[in-house]
């Protein structure tokens, strides 16, 4: 079993002691059992935390939109209305679960689960910190792309199964949009893979540093443009405004989930908000330095040297700093996504396809070529280090 | 449990299912589904022989090319099906009996 978080936690003394005790008590080597239990517990924690973040996402969306439109927003349930999402969840569970009489029952029931499975499966490789990552697969980002495309199937089937014209149009729009915008997003990811030299999340983040000038965002001009292409494409992939054509209220009522009620609709909404978080996390990992903290605080070696702390304690502190760094950047991007939604008007269908095929895809291919040429010409150095070197050599001449 | 025999058995089952779908169905898209199953069976065989026979990476390359070819085949095949439907208003394989129009 090859899991980053299990490897990290097995360094601690308590877990080793527990394993020894269990081995004695049960009479066989319990290390594999302990690894499995630790992994299952961490999986439950990740899924729980992510569901809470998805729920809080709806609250944040309503509160931020209220701010942008000079309203108050939800303010009745709990302090500042922060428990609104729990109230919504209870309402959704208690609502009647309606399956339309003309619907394809099997597909109707399956579709929201396909969406949710696709999103939760991507959480396995999201790098929260160098130790707190479920699995650092060596095809990490590629696996994430494959699993995220399951959401498109879910959206399409949801639209088909409802047996309603609005749902059908919404589902077809959603699926065509998702598979179209996957192309610029994937090509941009490939250009970053070229810079880092590996597909695993650890390699991708390991090539960057804690300071902004060490991020891939500022590595070269092409990756700077690439960040914006990736961000736009991932907005479209998650069906967020200004690309929320599948659920355009003014034309399609609410698109592919028109006929869904109760918790089935809730699953669609939850999948959408968690997917936005995952996509923002990927943008953070690829371009904004991921979980890296400045001055090597993440490994905790400085704390051990200067303050003489216990090694494991320093490491844990470093992990907490890394998780904080990752979540700060990701939630910042999350705020931008919501901000964009309540600021920009919606595109038309032909404008959407024109933007993807005539602008984003050619620019993404150009960026890929540019990154390749940059790596060849400047030996993989970033623009900052090149400037720094030239300044240093000029200073050396005088 | 994981050995060459089980893998060959699984790919054998996939292949037979593909043959059944291909022969029994009269819908062109359903026949394409059968072809995809058969291509998957062959790709699985290449990967299995790579692991259990010589651990040479060439089998993986072959599987990759099979997947690439399957994707191209699906794209062109479905394009032809849609064009055929525009001409004949049908995707029954027996309607595709002449070479012209």
């Amino acid at each position: 079993m090859n899991s980053t978080v299990v490897t990290y936690l097995s360094q601690s003394k308590e877990l080793t002691l527990a394993t020894e005790w269990l081995t004695k008590a049960l009479g066989f080597n319990a290390s594999s059992l302990v690894a499995f239990i630790v992994f299952a517990v961490v999986c439950l924690i990740v899924v729980g935390v992510m569901s809470t973040i998805g729920g809080l996402g709806t609250y944040a969306e309503r509160k931020i939109s209220a701010d942008l439109q000079m309203r108050v927003g939800p303010n009745r349930v709990g302090p500042y209305g922060i428990l609104q999402f729990l109230a919504d969840g209870v309402k959704m569970i208690l609502k009647e679960d309606i399956i339309p009489s003309g619907a394809d029952r099997f597909t109707f029931i399956l579709a929201p689960f396909l969406c949710l499975i696709g999103v939760f499966a991507t959480l396995a490789v999201v790098p929260f910190s160098s130790g707190f990552m479920l699995a650092d697969l060596n095809v990490g980002i590629f696996y994430l792309l494959g699993m995220a495309s399951l959401v498109g199937v879910g959206v399409f089937l949801g639209g088909y199964a409802s047996n309603s014209k609005w749902s059908m149009l919404g589902g077809m729009r959603g699926a065509s949009q998702i598979i179209s915008y996957e192309i610029p997003a994937t090509i941009t990811i490939i250009s970053i893979v070229l810079l880092a030299g590996g597909l695993s999340m650890g390699t991708l983040i390991g090539g960057q540093g804690g300071m902004p000038q060490q991020w891939y965002l500022f590595h070269n001009p092409f990756s700077f443009i690439g960040f914006f292409i990736f961000f736009i494409a991932s907005l479209a992939e998650t069906n967020r405004a200004p690309f929320d054509l599948p659920e355009a209220e003014s034309e399609l009522v609410s698109g592919y989930h028109t006929e869904y009620s109760g918790m089935r609709f809730g699953l669609f909404a939850l999948a959408e908000y968690i997917e936005v978080f995952v996509v923002c996390g990927v943008a953070t990992a690829l371009f904004l330095g991921g979980y890296k903290v400045p001055f090597d605080l993440g490994t905790g070696s400085i704390l051990v040297e200067k303050l003489g702390m216990d090694e494991m304690l320093a490491k844990n502190l470093g992990q907490i700093l890394e998780i904080g760094s990752f979540f700060t950047k990701t939630l910042g991007l999350y705020y931008v996504v919501i901000w964009v939604r309540w600021t920009l008007p919606r595109l038309r269908v032909d404008q959407l396809m024109t933007l993807c095929w005539k602008y984003l895809t050619p620019i993404a291919i150009f960026n890929l070529l540019g990154c390749a040429v940059w790596m060849y010409a400047f030996d993989g150095k970033s623009i900052y280090s090149l400037l720094f070197e030239s300044v240093a050599s000029v200073a050396g001449h005088h | 449990m994981i050995n060459l025999g089980t893998y060959l058995g699984i790919s054998f089952a996939l292949f037979i299912c593909g043959i059944l779908v291909m022969v029994a169905r009269k819908n062109i898209i359903a026949i394409l589904l059968g072809i995809e199953l058969i291509l998957n069976a062959s790709a699985l065989n290449f990967a299995a022989y790579t692991k259990f026979s010589n651990n040479n990476i060439d089998g993986h390359i072959m599987s990759l090319f099979i997947i690439v070819t399957a994707a191209a085949e699906a794209a062109v095949g479905l394009g032809i099906v849609i064009r055929f439907f525009q001409l004949r208003e049908s995707i029954h394989i027996d309607d595709a009996a002449s070479l012209q129009n």
């Binding site: - | 022969v23 359903a30 699906a74 794209a75």
Partner: protein, 178 residues
């Protein structure tokens, strides 16, 4: 232990999905079962250490081929003309007893041939310990760019041709009235 469980699950998903494709009377459901079967095959790849192949299987099939098939089903449904141009009744689109009988005979014949071929392997099961699974991404990249560079280039030309060909074939032709 974990690998064995994963293997059993994937094998059940693969074979179950494939059988459901055979017995499903609804084309849309057959497509969903095909997706399940593809996921099972990806799991089988992962069990024998072909991690890059597994991810490719997910990306190409789940994201590309299955959605393409679903689109084609949606764009071609709707008409039910049960008679061909000679006025004879056609065989049902998803097959009837006669076609299943023919398919059964074909399957039996081809399975006899295949069993004859793989009988040797099934009889001589080697129980030698397997080597550990190594990451394959780097090796695949190296081999693709050196030994198999010609095939790689040809496949890129093939994909370009398929892209343009599919776009040209399925484009609706406007009738010229002048």
């Amino acid at each position: 232990m974990f690998t064995n469980t994963l293997f059993l699950l994937s094998a059940a998903l693969t074979i179950g999905g494939a059988f459901a494709v055979v017995y499903s009377e609804n084309l849309m459901h057959a497509c969903i079962f095909l997706l399940a079967s593809f996921f099972g095959v990806a799991g089988l790849y992962a069990c024998i250490g072909a991690d890059f192949l597994a991810a490719t299987q997910l990306v190409v099939y789940a994201g590309g081929v299955v959605i393409l098939m679903l689109f084609a089903i949606m764009l071609t449904g709707g008409t039910a003309n049960n008679f061909n141009r000679f006025g004879l009744e056609k065989i049902a689109a998803m097959g009837n007893k006669k076609t299943y009988f023919m398919a059964g005979i074909t399957a039996v014949v081809s399975s006899l041939v295949l069993l004859k071929i793989i009988a040797n392997v099934l009889r001589n099961q080697s129980s030698a310990a397997l080597e550990a699974n190594l990451p394959t991404v780097e090796r695949i990249g190296t081999v693709l760019a050196t030994d198999h560079i010609l095939a790689f280039e040809i496949s890129s030309v093939l994909l370009l041709g398929a892209l343009i060909g599919a776009a040209v074939i399925s484009r609706p032709r406007t009738e010229k009235n002048d």
